[in-house]
C-alpha cells in the first residue's frame, strides 16, 4: 500500500501542474471566443477542440513528433532551456495539459458568456479602463464557472493515459501516473492487489471533482 503513495502523489502533482499551465491561455482563449468576433474564429474553435475527439494516442504521437529530441523544437528546448519533454515528467504534464485544455476553454467560454456585456459597458462609463473592467467585473462574475472548468480539467488530467504513455512513456517514479501504474500492474502476475486501491482513489477523486463542479454551477444560477 505504501509503495502506491508516490504514484498517487505524482499523479496529483502532474494534474495540478497541467491545470495551472493551461489556466492563463485557457482563460484568455475562452474570453476571446466568448466576447470577440474575428475571421477564422470557427477554425480556431475546431483547433482547440481537436484533443477532445482525437484518440489521445494520436495527440501523444503528434506531440512526440513535434518535440522529440530529434525535432528542431525539441532540440531547442533541451539545449537552450534545459527542458526535456519526451520521456520525462514535463512530457506527462504537457500531455495531460493538451487533452484537458478544451474542457477548460469551454467552461471559461460559457462562464464569460454568462456575464452580461451591459455590466461591462456600465463599468467602462464609470471611469474603468478595459483591464479594470476585466479584473473587477468579468472575472469575479465568471469565477465560479472558471473554477468549475479547472476542476474538470484537473479530473481529466488525472485520468490521462494515451497521450502520456506515448509522449512521456511509462517510467516508474517519473512519469508513471495512476492510469499507467494500473496498466503496468495488470500486466504483472499478482499485480491485481495493487490495482484496487488505485481504482478506488481515482473514482473518489473524479467523483469529488464533478460534484464540486456541479455545486459551483448551481451557485452561478443562484447568484
Amino acid at each position: 500500500m505504501t509503495d502506491l503513495l508516490p504514484i498517487v502523489a505524482l499523479s496529483l502533482k502532474t494534474a495540478l501542474a497541467a491545470t495551472l499551465l493551461i489556466l492563463p491561455p485557457g482563460v484568455w482563449l475562452g474570453w476571446l471566443l466568448a466576447r470577440r468576433n474575428f475571421p477564422g474564429k470557427t477554425l480556431l474553435e475546431g483547433l482547440v477542440n481537436i484533443p477532445l475527439v482525437l484518440p489521445p494516442v494520436v495527440t501523444g504521437y503528434a506531440l512526440l513528433f513535434a518535440l522529440s529530441p530529434a525535432s528542431p523544437a525539441g532540440r531547442f528546448l533541451e539545449n537552450h532551456l534545459g527542458l526535456q519533454i519526451a520521456f520525462a515528467w514535463p512530457g506527462a504534464v504537457l500531455a495531460a495539459a493538451v487533452v484537458s485544455f478544451p474542457l477548460l476553454v469551454r467552461a471559461v467560454r460559457v462562464a464569460v458568456s454568462s456575464v452580461s456585456p451591459g455590466l461591462e459597458e456600465a463599468a467602462s462609463v464609470l471611469n474603468a479602463p478595459a483591464w479594470a473592467v476585466w479584473l473587477q467585473i468579468t472575472l469575479p462574475l465568471s469565477a465560479h464557472g472558471i473554477l468549475g472548468g479547472m476542476l474538470l480539467a484537473f479530473a481529466r488530467a488525472l485520468g490521462e493515459f494515451g497521450a502520456t504513455i506515448v509522449l512521456a512513456s511509462n517510467i516508474p517514479a517519473r512519469t508513471q501516473t495512476i492510469p499507467l501504474a494500473i496498466f503496468t500492474f495488470l500486466n504483472q502476475p499478482g499485480g491485481e492487489a495493487h490495482i484496487w486501491p488505485l481504482v478506488l482513489f481515482s473514482l473518489i477523486l473524479a467523483y469529488a471533482s464533478l460534484l464540486l463542479n456541479e455545486v459551483l454551477i448551481r451557485r452561478i444560477h443562484h447568484a
Binding site: A122, A123, V125, L126
Partner: protein
C-alpha cells in the same frame, strides 16, 4: 455644452444627427426604434460612429477626420441605463464607490455622503442589488453615475420600469440634481408625461434623425402625433403649496388657487399637482351653480391645432392646456385673447409628494 455631428448605420437604422445640447435639462423624445439609445451609446463612446465629431466643451471626444476617439472611461460622460445595471457581486456602497475611487482625489466633484443624501439611499448601502426595488435600483444607479464625476449625464428611459408615483419622484430627483449640481442632462423618454413640466428643451427623434428641437410646448403637437390616436394624454403639471384644509384641500399652484380632494396634504406642504388636459371643461360664459369645485377665469394664450385633438392654452396665472376636438374649437369660435372659464372637478386633480 455637448455638440455632435454623427452618422452611423446598423441594420435598418441609419442614424444621421447634428445636435447641440446646452447646459440644461433636455429630453430626447421619440417612439421605439427611432435610434434614441443608439445615439446615447454613440455619445458615451460605447459604439463608434461611421463619421462625425463629438465635442464636450472644447474637448474633442471623437473625430473621424483626426482619427481621435476617447474610450468611454475617459469621456467624462455619465450614463444611467434603462435597466439599472448594478454590479450584482458588489453591495450598494461598492457600486457607488466603483467610479468614484477611480477619480484622482482632487478631481472628485462630490462627496459620497452628499450624493447619498441627495438621492435618499442612505438606508440601502449594505444591501445587494438583487434585494432592491426598481425605483431603489434607479436611485442607486444615478448616484453611482454622479459619483463618477461626469461633466454631462445621459439617462436612457430610466423611468419606464417605474410606477407613476416612483416616476414623479424620480423626475423630481433629476430636477433637484440638475439644479443643485448644475449638471447638464439628456434623458430619453417616449412618454409625454415625463417631458411636460420637467424638461427645459426637447429633441424630437424620428427614424434616426432629430426632426425638431424646442421647448416642450413647441414640440408638444408633434409629440402627440408620435402616440397612437386617442392615447396622447397631455398633463398639466404644477408645483403647489397646501394653503388650508377647510374646504377639501386648498392649494396655491403657482399663483392659481385650486381645490383638491381632502387628505391631499398638510398646510405648508409642497406637492405636485397634475391635471390631464382632457379633464378640463372650457366655457365661454361664466356657468352658474356648478358642482365642480374649481371654476377658473383666464384668457386664451395659444391654440395648437392637431389632427384628432387641439390644445387650447389658457393663461390662468400659470398656463393650462385644455384638450378639445378640432371641430369643437371651430364650433365654439375660440380665438386667442378671448376670456374663458375653466371647470375642473376636484377629483380630476392628482397630486404627488414633492420631496
Amino acid at each position: 455644452m455637448l455638440r455632435a455631428r454623427l452618422s452611423y448605420r446598423q441594420g435598418d437604422l441609419h442614424l444621421d444627427v447634428q445636435l447641440t445640447l446646452p447646459r440644461g435639462f433636455t429630453a430626447l423624445f421619440g417612439s421605439s426604434g427611432a435610434g434614441k439609445t443608439t445615439l446615447l451609446n454613440l455619445l458615451a463612446g460605447l459604439r463608434l460612429p461611421d463619421q462625425g465629431e463629438i465635442y464636450l466643451g472644447d474637448e474633442t471626444l471623437f473625430s473621424d477626420s483626426t482619427g481621435k476617439h476617447l474610450p468611454p472611461h475617459r469621456r467624462g460622460i455619465g450614463y444611467v441605463f434603462q435597466e439599472a445595471r448594478l454590479f450584482p457581486h458588489l453591495t450598494v456602497l461598492g457600486n457607488l464607490h466603483f467610479g468614484w475611487k477611480r477619480l484622482p482625489a482632487g478631481q472628485r466633484p462630490f462627496a459620497p455622503e452628499q450624493i447619498i443624501d441627495l438621492t435618499g439611499i442612505g438606508n440601502l448601502l449594505d444591501r445587494r442589488p438583487i434585494s432592491l426595488s426598481g425605483g431603489e435600483k434607479q436611485r442607486v444607479a444615478i448616484a453611482r453615475a454622479l459619483l463618477a464625476g461626469p461633466r454631462f449625464l445621459l439617462l436612457d428611459e430610466p423611468l419606464s420600469a417605474l410606477d407613476v408615483p416612483a416616476r414623479i419622484g424620480f423626475l423630481n430627483l433629476l430636477t433637484t440634481i440638475h439644479r443643485t449640481l448644475n449638471l447638464p442632462m439628456l434623458y430619453v423618454s417616449h412618454d409625454i408625461h415625463s417631458v411636460m413640466g420637467w424638461a427645459e428643451q426637447v429633441l424630437l427623434m424620428e427614424k434616426g434623425k432629430i426632426v425638431a428641437t424646442g421647448s416642450p410646448r413647441e414640440i408638444l403637437p408633434r409629440m402627440m402625433r408620435a402616440h397612437p390616436p386617442g392615447e396622447a394624454v397631455v398633463p398639466n403639471l404644477l408645483r403647489a403649496t397646501v394653503v388650508s384644509l377647510e374646504n377639501g384641500t386648498e392649494v396655491d399652484a403657482q399663483g392659481l388657487g385650486l381645490i383638491l380632494p381632502g387628505g391631499s396634504g398638510l398646510p405648508g406642504e409642497k406637492i405636485l399637482v397634475e391635471i390631464d388636459a382632457s379633464n378640463i371643461i372650457l366655457a365661454t360664459e361664466k356657468p352658474l351653480n356648478l358642482s365642480a369645485r374649481n371654476l377658473i377665469a383666464g384668457k386664451i394664450a395659444q391654440i395648437q391645432d392637431g389632427e384628432d385633438q387641439s390644445l387650447v392654452w389658457v393663461n390662468a396665472g400659470p398656463e393650462l392646456a385644455v384638450s378639445l376636438l378640432p371641430s369643437t374649437v371651430r364650433e365654439m369660435g375660440l380665438q386667442v385673447g378671448q376670456a374663458v372659464f375653466l371647470i375642473i372637478k376636484a377629483s380630476a386633480i392628482r397630486c404627488y409628494g414633492n420631496r
